[in-house]
Amino acid sequence: MTDKVTDPNSPLHYPVRRYGMDHDLYDWSMLTDRPKVQWPNNKPLAVWVNINLEFFPLNQKGVPFKVPGGMTMPYPDLRHYSLRDYGNRVGLFRILKALDKFNITPTFAVNTELAIRTPYLVQLLKSRGNEVLCHGWNMDSLHHGKMDRADESELISRSVNQLRELTGQAVTGWLSPARNQSQNTLALLAENGISYCADWVNDDMPYRFKQDGLWAMPLSTELEDFYILGNNLHSETAYVDQINDACDFLLQEAATQGGRMLTLNIHPWLLGQPHRIQYFEQILSRLSQQPIWSASASDILQAFTAQQAAGTVES
């Protein structure tokens, strides 16, 4: 058998070729090996609808990369800036009307800078009473591996604390802009009292990070409106089909494997367009006829962790 290569400069050197993951962020675990989860009222499927309220700066720095959905034209890229703004001014209200009509509970992922710029929206969120999670400072403030730890620490505490002040909520959830992280992000989130992070997409159910007190709440990228419509350029009908197929499949899987989670990540500037909103309504209408538990991200996590604490579910 081949000798282990010990020269760290060799391309055949594999220092973390071992059981489990090649890092220490979370443990290796297969979904089917975990105990079954039960949602309130025995509903097989928990549904988390996450509405993104975002601010894309016109003068983006694009470090370390241009955020997807950001400016693409030479400065000043008014067309992309204003279309993103359309979501917060117009699109959102169509989305809210649809959610309320079908009695679906949203959670809002908010850029703190947007909350500062739009007191009206903050009042609206307060009056609705829905959960707000922190979506970072703005869509050009990316967290990345080449960032100084102190700078990121300041960015996270500023984003989280100001959003807490503005909304009057505990704000325990986090979604990084572009879902990008540094090697310090998880630790800094925990230091700032965050209890769940939605950046990682490696599971269909919550799981525990090794970082104390921090959970992963997987928010599907593959089912996201921007990914399907904006990145893949699929039709609106195909978007509806994909969500319906996912819903049916997860309901079927839940019948034998315990509660499952369907997560829809929504951008009002995209789905709140007049020609798209009817497809979102179709999805909500069908969803509302299924045996789902529509809840906020925190409520879903609490239902999960309560069973975990009771020893019936492991991370």
Partner: protein, 314 residues
């Protein structure tokens, strides 16, 4: 650098010696689940970046981890349902990282072939000896964990050198004689097996492993809608099955647990598998069995025909 990889001669699809698969079947059908491990922090390769973002690029890493944590067993249950044994294109370090997955595949007598050690370690820049060592490590790892003599190769992340096929065949011979290292999935030039010319003169074949039917190519590169992918699979099958009347064909579906086994893509995949396996003249098999059968029954006839037609070309 060469203008032509020189592994095969031009050999027109029409008027080849007729192939019949075991029991007179017209189409050999195999599914090749890629079971891969991508490192979160691979060493930098100057020829190709592993991730688009600086370390830690958790998005790309996360969805591939999803394949192992969640997707694998979904696909496995589906293949079980249709009596399909997977031919796994394996990042062999997965034997060490996730032996539970390897065990489930062993329990089903699935085939393991080498897809390198990690899908974040590229062939680019390796010396001949280093590539040979990497291939040897991968084949030894498969043997150590599964007892199988690795028959096939799909280079890690489809990264090749001019010598990749030669080295794979030679290492196979060194380790296990003619029982290992005799087919490649790296060439996309045909819908039937073809003999491959190597410096070792080993009886070595290319087995069609379709890029077009590959779920990652369809979903990520070509951005195909899931139901359309399902339709493409059926259309691909229909034509190959029809052409199989004349001479046996091969259909391969290369899959990834992080693509095809996402909840919104399972239905389309299931419908395609249901459709394909419901036809009577389909040999549901593995890559190794196809390559073995071809080497035994058609290899010499193919060589003779190629040689005769090369003469006609001149």
């Amino acid at each position: 650098m060469k203008a032509d990889p020189s592994f095969y001669d031009y050999w027109p699809y029409q008027d080849r010696p007729k192939i019949r698969w075991p029991n007179g079947k017209k189409l050999a059908f195999w599914v090749a689940p890629n079971i891969e491990f991508y490192e979160l922090n691979p060493p930098e390769n100057p020829h190709r970046k592993a991730w688009p973002q600086p370390y830690p690029a958790i998005q790309g890493y996360g969805i591939r981890d999803y394949g192992n944590r969640v997707g694998h067993q979904r696909q496995m249950a589906l293949l079980d349902k249709y009596g399909i044994r997977g031919s796994i294109s394996l990042s062999t370090a997965l034997c060490e990282h996730h032996p539970e997955i390897i065990q489930m595949c062993k329990d089903r007598n699935w085939e393991f072939f080498s897809h390198g050690i990690y899908n974040t370690r590229y062939t680019y820049g390796l010396s001949e000896q280093q590539e040979r060592d990497m291939i040897r490590d991968s084949m030894e790892t498969i043997y150590r964990h599964t007892g199988q003599h690795c028959a096939g190769y799909l280079a890690p992340a489809l990264s090749h050198s001019e010598l990749t096929l030669d080295l794979f065949a030679e290492v196979g011979t060194e380790l296990f004689g003619n029982d290992a290292g005799f087919y490649t999935c790296d060439l996309f030039h045909d819908d039937q097996p073809t003999p491959i010319k190597l410096r070792s003169d080993k009886r070595f074949v290319s087995i069609p492993y379709s890029l077009e039917m590959n779920d990652t190519i369809a979903y990520v590169v070509n951005k195909v809608e899931p139901r359309r992918y399902g339709q493409m699979l059926k259309d691909n099958f229909d034509r190959l099955y029809q052409e199989g009347e004349e001479s046996g064909t091969i259909m391969c579906i290369p899959t990834h647990n992080y693509q095809v086994a996402c909840p919104h893509r399972m239905k389309a995949f299931e419908e395609a598998l249901d459709y394909i396996t419901s036809h009577p003249d389909v040999w549901v098999t593995t890559g190794r069995e196809i390559a073995d059968y071809y080497r035994e029954h058609y290899y010499d006839a193919a060589l003779a025909d190629i040689s005769a037609k090369l003469g006609a070309n001149k």
